[in-house]
């Protein structure tokens, strides 16, 4: 198989314009004859479904939650990037493009990333027009802040609830199309297979979660917008239901899975507190605008953080990376935190945490505020009081969340934070048109692999989801569907649907009939532990080889000892979980295989064997400047296909944030 990325000719700046100018179109009457199936209603899915509905396609959209508004995108906190350059601090489309490629440690496709940077500005215009209440300055104009890996302020935000506001915007656009009748919404439905006929996606099989009914849907195209697979680690910042099933079923049907081992471990999350822990909570990267990260210089320093004087603290990010300081990219910050804790400098009861301290920011803002309010010689208490008010305006909901979870007050003492699994850069392989290796099957948002290389910069996933859904797929889908007008739409009575449905039913019955002793969650926790210990923040050959064997054994045990109560013909959350974990186990194995094969360190993929003398990730460009796309051949067996990465516009270099 040759992976055809279908990158248009021309200079990097002209590719997308050229493409849009020349792509084929589908006229309105023909659009009305075409059904598009959209799996997922996060930023990618909701924006795609609303836009395609508006264009005149007949859209059917699916999500497993009780409402499209609850997709995991809702939880995104910090913000969304766009090259608007409103602050006039030197931003441009090229700089956003450059930062993203560099941040991704040169493992993403230039043409896709440039397109993303190009449409970023439109996203902000679009969202404001929809009534998204972004943060504003007193001038009434939009406010910006910084995120990691950049030296400009290009992040738009709505307090710590940016994802919520953007998703509500897309959700409302979607509901409007539902009201008009262009989109039909199927809540509490889980897609369990893609129906593929003669190499082309022609429909899906879904399970109605309310009553367990298996249903068939036919379509001219299938769009997977099903999110990331971070929950393979059990503990992550993802929502409990986030899963890989839709993508994995597509993979089993021939869609290649690209760079599965590229996982993002986010540096600032609330640390694990006990065995019962079900998920981890992110403290947005935006906090690194104002929070300073440190550990005590002395090992085993048990003093209260407030009692540790300045000169006995090590602000290690500021020390090691003076140019970017606390705003280094996520992979760099996470590894640095791990390193501090591994050498015994961690804080808190578990010693697996570092401090994120707002003390300096509180004083700085307090003084500013006092100055504005004409308070002369304010007391330090007054300054702090004023400073805390400013912080609560900026990050109030995050601070509240921290307080509820830990019972500690971050206005008075530093937060304790530790890295946690957050995002998956890997995903189904797609070409420039977002089409997978299965014709008619498109992949949008976090579920695809295309834009973030080996490490995603903060505030760029929301940007990608909306770019894919609002601005890319409407063109690229049309370009491909223009040929479809000659083909008669397939019916769900076609025998190919019988085969797919039967496979789905067989798998469910198999799961139900194991009747073992161990709950799905228990297996999930065990898988997560293997993945975190051996395919997490630091990887090496020995561990990865062990992990593969352990996962294979776990898979066996799962299929012999799983216990699911109740029946398949009812609302049965345990059955839902079991199906997802079965897929996670297989995906986990592939992640380890991918991590093992990539004999280099890049971005979030850190192989201990490949590091610079200072402990930074050491790429091996000559050998590994490619996308690793895996084709499933049989159980435990995959074949590797490579898409070479060509860098015409940016020179490859060792990343340097010093």
């Amino acid at each position: 198989m040759i992976l055809e990325s279908k990158i248009p000719e021309g200079s990097i700046e002209s590719k997308w314009t050229q493409y849009k100018g020349h792509c084929k179109l589908v006229n309105p009457p023909n659009k009305r004859k075409m059904t598009i199936l959209v799996i997922g209603t996060g930023l990618a899915g909701a924006s795609a479904a609303a836009t395609l509905g508006e264009l005149g396609y007949k859209v059917k959209a699916f999500c497993f939650q009780d409402s499209p508004r609850r997709a995991h995108s809702i939880a995104a906190q910090g913000g969304i990037n766009a090259a608007k350059n409103y602050p006039n601090d030197g931003d441009s489309v090229f700089r956003l493009f450059y930062d993203t490629i560099k941040g991704g440690d040169y493992r993403s496709r230039e043409a896709n990333v440039h397109r993303l940077a190009e449409v970023s500005s439109n996203i902000i215009d679009q969202c404001v027009a929809q009534g998204v209440p972004f943060a504003r300055e007193y001038s009434g104009l939009l406010s910006n802040r910084s995120f990691g890996g950049t030296q400009v302020q290009r992040t738009f935000y709505a307090a710590g609830q940016t994802g919520q506001q953007l998703l509500i915007g897309a959700y409302q656009a979607l509901e409007r199309q539902i009201a008009i009748g262009n989109v039909t919404m199927y809540n509490r439905h889980e897609m369990l297979d893609v129906v593929v006929k003669d190499g082309k996606a022609v429909g899906i099989i879904v399970r109605n979660l309310l009553d367990g009914k298996i249903e068939r849907f036919a379509g001219t195209a299938v769009l997977l917008c099903s999110g990331g697979y971070g929950n393979v680690f059990y503990l992550s910042t993802n929502a409990m239901g986030a899963n890989a099933t839709a993508a994995w079923k597509a993979h089993n049907k021939g869609a290649l899975f690209a760079n599965p081992c590229f996982t993002q471990i986010h540096p600032t999350c609330i640390p694990v507190s006990g065995e019962y822990q079900s998920k981890l909570t992110l403290m947005s990267e935006s906090l690194r605008n104002d929070g300073r990260i440190w550990v005590p210089k002395k090992k085993g320093d048990e003093r209260h953080p407030a009692d540790i004087p300045e000169d006995e603290r090590d602000y290690y990010l500021e020390r090691k990376y003076p140019a970017f300081g606390n705003l280094v990219p996520r992979d760099v910050a996470s590894r640095a935190a791990k390193e501090q804790c591994d050498t015994g400098l961690g804080v808190g009861t578990s010693k697996k945490a570092v401090y994120l301290d707002f003390g300096s920011a509180i004083e700085r803002y307090g003084k500013e505020k006092a100055h504005i309010q004409d308070i002369h010689n304010p007391s330090i208490d007054k300054i702090k009081e004023l400073g805390r008010i400013v912080l609560s305006e900026k990050y109030g909901n995050l601070f509240d969340m921290y307080m509820k979870i830990t019972g500690e007050n971050p206005y008075l003492q530093p937060m304790r934070i530790y890295p946690a699994v957050h995002y998956t850069m890997g995903g189904l392989w797609v070409d420039y048109e977002l089409q997978s290796t299965v014709k008619g099957l498109y992949v949008l948002g976090e579920a695809n692999f295309s834009d973030h290389g080996a490490n995603r910069l903060g505030a760029s996933s929301l940007m990608q989801g909306l770019a894919d859904g609002y601005f890319v797929i409407p063109y690229t889908l049309g370009n491909n569907l223009a040929q479809e007008i000659y083909n008669k739409p397939i019916s769900t009575d076609d025998p190919i649907f019988d085969i797919s449905e039967k496979a789905v039913r067989t798998q469910i019955e198999k799961l139900m009939n194991i009747k073992g002793k161990t709950s799905a969650d228990t297996f999930h926790k065990r898988l997560g532990k293997i993945m975190w210990d051996k395919c997490g923040m630091a990887r090496n050959e020995k561990n990865l080889k062990e992990a593969i064997i352990e996962i294979q054994a776990l898979k066996k045990e799962f299929w012999q000892d799983l216990k699911i109560p109740g029946s398949q013909n009812e609302f049965n959350p345990e059955l839902e979980k079991a199906g997802r974990i079965a897929d996670f186990i297989e995906l986990g194995e592939l992640m380890c295989i991918d991590a093992l094969h990539r004999n280099e360190s890049c971005g979030g993929h850190f192989r201990e064997e490949y590091q610079t003398p200072e402990g930074e990730a050491l790429r091996q460009d000559e050998q590994f400047s490619y996308v690793a796309a895996w084709h499933r051949k049989a159980e435990h067996e995959w074949e590797l296909f490579k898409e070479p990465l060509v860098f015409d516009s940016i020179k490859l270099a060792q990343r340097n944030y010093k």
Binding site: T51, E54, R69, R70, N122, F134, Q172, Y276, S278
Partner: protein, 255 residues
Amino acid sequence: MQHYKMNLTIQVWRQKNALEKGQFESYQVKDISSEMSFLEMFDVLNEQLLQEGKDPVAFDHDCREGICGMCSMYINGKPHGPWQANTTCQLHMRAFKDGDTIVVEPWRAQAFPVIKDLVVDRSAFDRIIQAGGYVSVGTSGNTIDANVIPIEKQKADMAFAAAMCIGCGACVAACKNSSAMLFLSAKVSHLSLLPQGQPERKIRVLNMLNKMDEEGFGACTNTNACEATCPKEISVTNIARLNLEYLNASLSKQD
């Protein structure tokens, strides 16, 4: 922060499906850590039930961060439990002490029929939004530049405060009339405070109110129980604004 363990009695509403009648069941859970979240305590209970060969308790949840609006338990007589401005998933066990009995029920409202145990059907909320909870702008991106219309910071902040509603339905569950006025007013306020929401301001409020009645939600009698229970502290001043919007809209309809 002092951590502790506790043993608890959990009385949960069990209901097989929408048609069958439900009843309370009582369970004991042991060694619950004060650091756990309320839903993690339910995870422990469910694992226990599973091991005893019983059906685990069905409940809705997803983000467990207080933002998706999916979790929905009526705990000791209060939607989302005893803490102020909080969701079920963000409630932590340090709110309870050893030996406590905790009573957990689903949202109860005619417009939110029970699906199973603690899971209810809140799709009526989506249909209210369909009736007009949006700006009828296309998704082409060919609008005007985002900074062409400045919006007074105070107004933008007020719109944001209203837009924070997570659509959980606690306001309905808390209200003796099962009114959805707080939910509705949050959306009407969000959009009518912004310049983008102006063109459809009147028709929106009329259509959404009609839909709310049609879906079987009750009328608002200003008890403010909704505001007291709302996890996002959506203010009842939004209801006042909604009433004003309604008045304006109905008057101009007669013109």
